[in-house]
């Protein structure tokens, strides 16, 4: 261990950290409205045209890009560690890293594509 190499984890850890703030600040209100209040009918949903107009605003696109990509990387990092420590899959660490961070990259690609075409 004395002559070992410093880990490259800071890259994914920083994405995890920034994503953690985005998830904490913004996800609760998102799921509250789009997952509970609007679908259950407790609050009247603004409808297709209004939602489309909201999403098409350049600032909304920028916000959704930051929110979704950072949350994907936040979730990927924590899911990897959860599966290795809580679910005792330490021996599969390389596979888990590939699947989790790979999934986050795929999520990022889809986010960019959907936000450009919506």
């Amino acid at each position: 261990m004395s002559a070992g190499k410093r880990s490259n984890e800071p890259l994914v850890w920083l994405l995890f950290g920034v994503g953690g703030f985005f998830a904490a600040f913004f996800l609760p209100v998102h799921v509250l409205f789009y997952g509970l209040l609007f679908p259950s009918g407790l609050v009247h949903a603004p409808g297709y045209q209004a939602t489309l107009a909201l999403v098409r605003h350049p600032l909304a696109r920028l916000y959704l890009f930051a929110l979704l990509t950072l949350c994907f990387f936040h979730a990927a990092h924590r899911m990897r560690l959860t599966m290795s420590d809580v679910l005792n899959l330490r021996h599969l660490n390389t596979v888990l890293a590939f699947l989790c961070y790979g999934g986050a990259i795929v999520g990022t690609v889809f986010t960019v594509w959907l936000l450009m075409t919506v």
Partner: protein, 136 residues
């Protein structure tokens, strides 16, 4: 008959249970906090599906909304909300404290390090809610 191991005493090496996080509430709480990540991933994917439906047609979006109104989806989203709140509270109690200590080099009361985050959280929630409702 004891096996003599005078010069090589055998230490007992405990093995950790595969379900160690169920032993005590403090470890289960940690496991639940970490499990919030699965719901973060779920909700991001769900939002991508919503965007895809929005970009396709009004009929598709109506189908998406109908699906979201099903009791199963409501229950899943209620659980997701609970996990997001757990994530937010544990995050605001921990991360700003570390950041403040790193920046200032001395301890600060938790109210000063974590407090502003709760205010920002409240502000962000209100502003986003007004956008979602079409008020802004």
């Amino acid at each position: 008959m004891p096996q003599y191991t005078q010069y090589q005493p055998k230490a007992y090496r405990p093995r950790m249970s595969a379900y160690w996080y169920l032993d005590q509430w403090r470890y289960l709480r940690y496991a639940l906090r970490e499990a919030s990540s699965f719901f973060v991933a779920y909700f991001c994917v769900l939002t991508l599906v919503q965007l895809a439906a929005l970009g396709t047609s009004a009929t598709r979006y109506a189908q998406f909304e109908a699906c979201m109104g099903s009791p199963v989806m409501i229950i899943i989203n209620a659980i997701a909300l609970a996990f997001f709140l757990l994530h937010a509270i544990t995050w605001f109690n921990l991360v700003p404290r570390v950041a403040m200590r790193q920046m200032l080099g001395r301890p600060t009361p938790d109210a000063i390090s974590s407090g502003p985050n709760y205010l920002l959280w409240f502000g962000a929630t209100v502003i986003l809610a007004l956008f979602f409702l079409g008020v802004l």
